[in-house]
Symmetry: C2
Subunit: 337 residues, 2 copies
């Protein structure tokens, strides 16, 4: 069969199907406009600011029009797209993983920081500092292939529960933020996660939960090497950290992975300061946003002095830099689905 004949046959048989599918796909952006966009947001300054920005940059008649290819929006994950209290969820994974691996490592009973983890002594873990944390990450994340690691995370997500809400961690993603991601995509934006969290940890659930495919997730990563292991070509994750995608690392990660300065950045802690600064200092229209966790009842209330997700410089400088501070309490009709 000649390829050209095959094309013609495919064309005549399936033109109707194609057009039907095309119409269905084409209708999606319209549906995003019909009804109310982002129903979990209260009508107020924050929502208005977002909607006006999007309407402006997508309006071909506006002098602020941005072509679709340049509509890059970046989102922090911990504390911005999902909860980060009482500890980063990936840290809960690390602790659970240490416990799961402990029988194979009897020496951990007497070696810090593993000893403290096994005894549930958070103060002891904290006392081990960054060095201890890297040891934990190395021991729990290294020497696996991405496929193996993905399976481990996936299994953990299926069973682990948040200590306060008793829900799977992926249920503690913010409904208003998921609506915002969808609203931006319906308006031709490409949405990226740019997080201090592990890139391969987030990729396990980013597509299912946020609609963000693996190739649009930027995060911290370990060194990796390629090898043919037992006849099977694999990439192997080393225990050694290669890149930390936090603070000044975020603009570097953005440049390395995306190669374009975003026009919208959304964060929640001072770890996002440089990403917001880098994004909003480019030429043309830019929007910087910060989630302010001020809702102890429905989620958590913390900022300047929090051991997790501290927000101090961002709060101080948001007004003069023109960044919108989004109040979880006032701006969000609901927090979770």
């Amino acid at each position: 069969m000649e390829p050209t004949a095959s094309f013609s046959a495919t064309l005549s048989m399936t033109r109707r199907a194609w057009l039907g599918l095309a119409l269905a796909v084409a209708a999606l952006p319209c549906l995003a406009f019909a009804g109310e966009a982002m129903p979990s947001w209260n009508d107020g300054a924050s929502k208005t600011r977002i909607v006006r920005f999007v309407e402006d940059v997508t309006n071909p008649a506006s002098r602020n029009f941005v072509p679709p290819a340049e509509r890059i929006a970046v989102f922090d994950n911990d504390g911005t797209l999902w909860t980060e209290q009482p500890m980063y969820f990936q840290l809960a994974f690390v602790f659970d993983r240490v416990k799961a691996l402990a029988p194979q490592h009897p020496e951990w009973k007497t070696t810090e920081p593993f000893k403290s983890v096994l005894e549930g002594n958070m103060a002891g873990v904290a006392a081990s500092g960054d060095h201890g944390l890297l040891a934990l990450v190395g021991a729990t994340h290294g020497n696996t292939t991405p496929e193996e690691f993905s399976k481990i995370v996936s299994d953990w997500l299926a069973t682990a529960r948040h200590p306060r809400f008793n829900q799977p961690y992926t249920e503690l993603t913010f409904a208003p933020m998921k609506e915002l991601l969808a609203y931006l995509r319906a308006n031709g934006f490409k949405t990226f996660i740019v997080s201090g969290g592990g890139i391969e940890f987030m990729r396990v659930f980013s597509e299912r939960v946020y609609g963000v495919p693996p190739e649009q997730v930027v995060g911290s990563y370990v060194k990796m090497k390629y090898e043919v292991r037992d006849g099977k070509p694999v990439v192997v994750r080393s225990p050694e950290i290669d890149f930390i995608d936090d603070k000044g690392g975020k603009p570097v990660g953005i440049d390395r992975f995306i190669g374009r300065r975003p026009i919208l950045a959304f964060g929640n802690s001072d770890g996002d300061f440089e990403m917001l600064e880098y994004t909003t200092s480019g030429p043309g229209p830019r929007l910087g946003l910060i989630v302010h966790h001020d809702d102890a009842e429905r989620e958590y209330a913390y900022d300047r002095k929090s051991p997790v997700g501290a927000l101090e410089r961002g709060l101080d400088e948001a007004p003069k830099r023109g960044w919108a501070v989004v109040s979880m309490k006032d701006d969000w009709r609901k927090v979770y689905d």
Copy 2:
């Protein structure tokens, strides 16, 4: 104006425009099927193999059906998407850049490998080895912001000419490969470049020339750091190489940037061997392809012993690994546009 009111207004005013645009966009895949796909390919085993693979993985009734999100195709650049003789085009850029910067560096007249470059002594440059090459790349690529570097490359591309064809280098991109990229995208594939070349060098022209946006370009990169320079937040490229996206680095680059094993890989030299091996050893349908440069008249003829783009192991193992070897001479109706 309330955001919701604004939505309704937008909807009623522009529903016709939306549908018109949607239909136009929806028609694109059909157009790709109407007429002949990939007209620069001769009808033959290579084209048939590609078309059958694409028809198979996009057919929902096939047991080999692959959902669009997993239709990842990766392409080497040098020698696969454009010519790489008589030297990698980025190396021509490096040499021209050394000459342009020489007046600011009088010491280069007496320091290798700069001396050899300035004297046009290619044997001397080659004698300086990898160490010399890294020195050249560092001196010509470092200490710039991505924006500055992009401008330098862009200016060079506008004026530099290939020594044999006397054309801008971006004119020496392969017409059949550009058609293949477009054909894959029309069939729901996401096309990535995965090259040993510099990531920021390629991003200058990848979108315009190949239709591949910056965020879908994976390549070698230098270390970078973020700083606020004269009040302007910038990322600064260091002269130090961070990652080399070649040989075993390619599967690592794929995992790091894309996070999914591709289903189609196209290369041309043994630098692509591991990428082809990694891609085609995954489960399910996979296609590995190699451009064989056997066309001295229209382009170049070289393989096993070439100092640039040597292809030896790939040629030897292609048959038993099921990789298609594409003959430039026999499979391509034309090489350049």
